[in-house]
């Protein structure tokens, strides 16, 4: 069982934003910025469908330009 040997995954801002961009475009047909703005405005019809993307966004600093732009 893989329970003892592993390293946490460190993601850079660029990696997180790239994954958000790719995930939002593939699954919601919108940019990462549009995705964050839509969620904050309550315009995502089923946010649970992209809960993993929302948690990915949590790895960014809360003062990240992506949030400021949104």
């Amino acid at each position: 069982m893989q329970t003892t040997t592993y390293e946490p995954l460190k993601l850079s801002r660029a990696q997180i934003v790239d994954q958000l961009e790719a995930g939002a475009r593939r699954r919601l047909h919108m940019s990462a910025e549009e995705f964050v703005r839509a969620y904050r405005d309550g315009r995502l019809a089923d946010a649970g469908r992209v809960a993993d993307l929302l948690m990915l966004a949590h790895l960014l600093d809360e003062r990240d330009p992506l949030f400021v732009a949104a």
Partner: protein, 154 residues
Amino acid sequence: MSLPETLAEVRDLSARYQSGKADAFDAFRNLVSLIFHATILSANGSVRLSFGPGRDLVLGGWRGPTDPLPLTNGTFLRVSMMPYREETEHGPRVKVRSSSYQYQLDADGEQPVFRFVLVYKLREAGSVDIDPGLGLLGSFFVTTYTAQIRVSGG
């Protein structure tokens, strides 16, 4: 690993993550990994903590929060959990702010079967409000004293 050994490992990891000490998040990850591997997780799958420039951690797949876990029956489970440390009157404790589980037939999630979302604690007002919280409360949810639960079909 025998059943008594497994149970002993579960007790040890539970005590370590509940202690809130330095290795609490690793113990939490290892406990989830142990339980998943003993039940549904494929031998070549594994859970992993991810972190970035912010202060939050997310437990998810090996390649990050959006990476689904391969299951023994050839299907997938997309898991995202957000553990955090909270100071309590009994000392620091590791808790989970929210978690999401989606059982899906394919790796890309184009064929979801069901989804289970738990929101234990919304982030404090005033910070970036991107928690999968209030926006999730749609077609069906149950509210308890400490958790909001939503289950939806694919």
